[in-house]
Each structure stands twice: as C-alpha cells, then as structure tokens.
Symmetry: C2
Subunit: 322 residues, 2 copies
C-alpha cells in the first residue's frame, strides 16, 4: 500500500485508493455505531426491505447527480454517457440478484443459529472472498498474503468471542452449509461486482454505479413484494421511520458508494481489510464509551485485534516483496 518512489500518476492513484479506503473504514465504523444506537432506541419498527430499497434509490440518485455535474463540466463522452449496450448492461443484474438471495436466506439461517453465532459465522465471508478473488479475478496473492488472510479471519473471530461463542460449534449441519453457501454468495457478488467495474476501466464509475443500483432497486422492490407487501399496504411505506432510520439509510448509501469506489480503484481484498478494521474500531469505540461505567476490555478482543493488526502488516509486507 506504499508508493515506493513511483511516478506522479502512481502517487495520485495511491492517494485516491487511500482516500476511498479510509472513507469506507470510517463509514463502516459509524454504521455499526448507528446500529447500536438504533438498538438502544428500541426495536426496528420500520420494514427493512423498504429501507434497503431507499438505500439503492439514494445511491442511484447520487450517481446521477454526480454524472450531471460531470456532463456539465466535461460534456457527454463515450465513457460517461448513460446509454449502454446490451453486452455491457446484461451483467449488472447479477450481483443485485445474488445479494437478494443472500438476504432472503438470512431469514432462514436463524432457524439454526442465533444472531451472535451468525456474526461469527459471517467471518467465512473473508475466506470466501479471498478464494473467489483468486479464482474469478485470477489475481495472485503471495503466500504471506494468504497467511495474512487466514489470520484476518481468525483474528476477527477471536475479537468477537464471548462466553457464549462456543454454542456456535453446536450449529447443526444445515446451518453450517447455509453459512458457507451465504459466504460464497456474498463473496461471489463482491468479486463479480469488481470484475464488472474493472472490465471497462475507462468507463465512468458513476455510470457503472447507476446501472448497478437500478437493478438493486428492481430486486429490492421484489423483496418488498415478497416479504412486506401486507405491512406496507396496511401501515404505509414509511411506517416506523425515525431520524436514526434516515441516518442509517444515508450511511448505508454512502458506504455502498465507497465500496464501489474501492472496487474501482483498489480491490475486494482492500475492502475486506477495511471493513474488518472498521469492525475493530467500532468495538473499541464501544469499549471506550462504556469504560467510564466500569466495563473492561476483553482479553479475546485484545488478542483478536493484535492478530488483525499483524495481518494488515503482513498483507502490506507481502505486497512489497512480490
């Protein structure tokens, strides 16, 4: 991640990459804080599917707004025009469809595993992203980077350990299968999005985002119909929305845009590191905020953070030696 005396182009690329990575880390951290805040404020009373739909719509609108500014400044070119070919657009629905399937499965996995257990099983995502990144994008990670990746997964899981964590080992076979399948789905969706975005490097990212999010809106509209049609019809689309719901939608939309940027200018590996570090930062913030009330940092969290930090270090070392 260090620009070793490269050219000005290299350095400006590295700067852009750093900024989007930092933005993703900060947004993901604040996301978790909003979730904690919303839990304190009470149960979710709004329908999650409508919120997801609004997140996609907002991202779509923001991409369009950015595009209109670019059109005004640079004029419409081959790279930033919205109209597209069937060949280009045909792949855009795939990630949205995969995420929809994953979100629907999420309701069923809770029959086999509780919410804290699911948080732990979600760390499979790290490994599945690495494996699919290697297979689909055919980018090699060095041996040290693979070691770092396994450490990242082990470290994140260690940091989340508590006295009830061992229960997750009693997850029935169907639960394990679903968790692995969901990790593969979300890993595949992430890596596939990167492949789509990187396939046309000169294409403006806002156009690529616009099409991704249009299909996101379509598939989330389908989710509303499947899951919350009655609730929306009876209570209205915005039932249960509060200030915090609005902030969460805003945050998710901005994080989503940051993820796209990271995939355009960096890659899925950077994305995984960024969100993992964000997870630790959030937990640390939570600890600091309750420290005054006598809460103690758990040994497991300390050990997990150490392992994740070394993983980040090894990842950058591994890159330099390539």
């Amino acid at each position: 991640m260090i620009a070793l005396g490269g050219s000005t182009v290299d350095r400006s690329k590295w700067k852009r990459k750093s900024i989007v990575t930092l933005a993703l880390t900060v947004l993901t951290s604040s996301q978790a804080i909003l979730i904690v805040w919303s839990k304190r404020a009470g149960k979710y009373e709004y329908s999650v599917t409508t919120a997801n739909f609004l997140v996609e719509a907002l991202k779509c609108a923001l991409s369009l707004a950015a595009l209109t500014r670019i059109w005004r400044n640079e004029g419409v070119t081959e790279d930033n025009r919205l109209s597209t070919s069937w060949d280009e657009v045909s792949v855009y629905p795939i990630p949205a469809a995969l995420y929809l399937i994953k979100n629907l499965l999420q309701y069923y996995i809770f029959a086999y595993v509780d919410a804290p257990g699911y948080q732990i099983l979600k760390n499979f995502n790290i490994i599945s992203t690495g494996v699919l990144y290697r297979i689909i994008l055919k980018k090699k990670l060095s041996e040290i980077q693979w070691a770092a990746f396994i450490l990242l997964c082990a470290g994140c899981t260690t940091a989340q350990l508590n006295s009830n964590s061992d229960r997750v080992l009693q997850t029935p076979f169907e639960g394990w299968l679903m968790a692995i399948f969901m990790a593969l789905l979300s890993g595949f969706a992430g890596v596939y999005t990167e492949a789509i975005i990187k396939k046309r490097p000169s294409r403006n990212i806002n156009v690529q985002n616009f099409w991704l999010y249009v299909f996101g809106m379509v598939f989330n509209a389908m989710a509303i119909l499947v899951q919350d049609f009655d609730a929306v019809m009876n209570k209205g689309f915005f039932h249960g929305y509060s200030l915090i719901t609005v902030l969460m939608i805003l945050n998710h939309a901005l994080s989503g845009l940051a993820v796209s940027m990271v995939m355009k200018y960096a890659d899925n590996i950077v994305k995984v590191y960024s969100t993992s570090v964000a997870m630790l930062l959030t937990a640390l913030t939570a600890v600091v905020s309750v420290f005054l009330f006598g809460f103690h940092l758990s040994l497991a969290f300390f050990l997990g953070s150490t392992v994740v930090s070394i993983s980040v270090y090894l990842h950058s070392i591994g890159k330099l030696q390539r």
Copy 2:
C-alpha cells in the same frame, strides 16, 4: 528449517536439529499429560523442591554416563575432558541461580493472580525470550519472524482462553510487574544458557550439561533448605513419592537434556516454538481423550491453534527469505 540442497554436513546438522526438536516436543507434550494424570490422582504430597533436586541429579548422572561411554570410545580429549578452567566454569552458576530466583518468586505471584491466570501471563516468556535473544545473542530475526513471534504469543494465549480468563486483566499492578520480571528472568536464563553452550562450539555438550546441572543441584539443595527443610527432616526426603512422581522426574530430566541439545544444535527460538506446539498437542490430546464423553473443542482453542500454525509457517518462510 528446510535444507535447500545443502552439503552433507548441512543435511546431517539439519537432521540432528530436527531430532532434538521433535524429542523436546514429544517430551513436553507427555509432561503436561503426566501433570494432568497426577492432578487426577490427587494433590501433590511430595515436596517439589526435592523432586527438582532429583531432576538435576538425574540429568547430571545421565550426562556423566554419556561421557564415560564417549571416553571409552574416543579417549579423553581437550573437548570432552571434565576438568575445566575458572574462566569456563564461572558462568555456569548464573542460569541455575536465575531459575532459583524465578521459582521462589512463583510462590509470591499467587498472592496476586490465580493458577489459570498465571498460565496466561506465562506467555510473556515467548516475547521476552525473543527480545533477549535479539539483544544478548545479537541474532537478527526478520520482520516476518517478529510478526510470527507476536502471533505465537497471541495464538497460545487465545488457545488457553476460557470463560474466566478475563479475570487476569484485573491483576493488580504488582502482579503484572512480577509476571514481566519473571518472564525476563526465565527468558534471560534460557538465552544465557544458549550463549554459554554456543560459546565453545567444539566442547562436548555432555561436559557443558554436567557443569550446568552440578550448579542446578547446588541451587536446588539451597531451595530445599529454604523452603522444605522441616518437612524433609520430619517426613523424610521421599515422603509422598509415587510411580507418577518418578515418571515426572524422569520426564523432566529427559526434557531438560532435550532443551540443552536444542540450544546446542538449534536455538531458543526453536525451543519456544517446540514447547508451544507441544502445549497445543497436549490440549488436543486431552480434548480427544474426553471427546468420547461429550466434551467439545472450544472455538478459542481452534482459533489459537490456527494462529500458532500460521506463526510456525511464517517463521520458516521468514527464514528462507533472509
């Protein structure tokens, strides 16, 4: 640890190094199993100081036995004669004295921390050995090897986590200080022993061991006088000894000899890795042996073992790239 197309001498050195390392790992593993067995059999009724003394005496006797065989086969030479100069022998009491101080302190640290907590704090030994190895023996570890070493410490600690481990964080300041001081003492004793043994590479290891263990006997005799004089006088030297006590003494003596061999033909870093892996193997054996009774592998143990395995891998990778 891999002999890359080296000469026959290199290969035979590597073979010797592997054998002593394996011996240390196996002996340390069985040590822990004996301790578990002895705990099941009931409380320690023998005095630990007399057992320690016998361990030193046995090592001394075994070194002498090895020497007499060598004298018979090769004759007495400059390298294997027992007589020594003041210059050579003057440093041998130092490790024995340091271990004595550490063992005496061990009784006082339990005022601040319980036994499972002390097991966790003992992992400081790993870091102190690495740091003192670097400072005293002036041998460099690569960046990756340092990272691997911190991972070894984090991984071993993670593997030992249980629902009560967080209590160790409430150890008072004096407890932390003593734990760090004890880690430095035992790290220093280990590294110093390596320095003594390696200072005269051609000197026969059995002569070096003989002198080390003579002073071990002297200092342990002092410990008997200080701590268990009354008990030994009233109940006798061998009071409370059982078959398992004898096996433990035998095992400790052989492990001690293996440690010496590792320091002669490998180093303290190999020693630390070997005993850490032994710790995991033991715990795994314990898990397998109670698996039939419905005991489950803890997630923490699994994660810690993963981190330790990667640490071992990184250590060897780091060596190859030097």
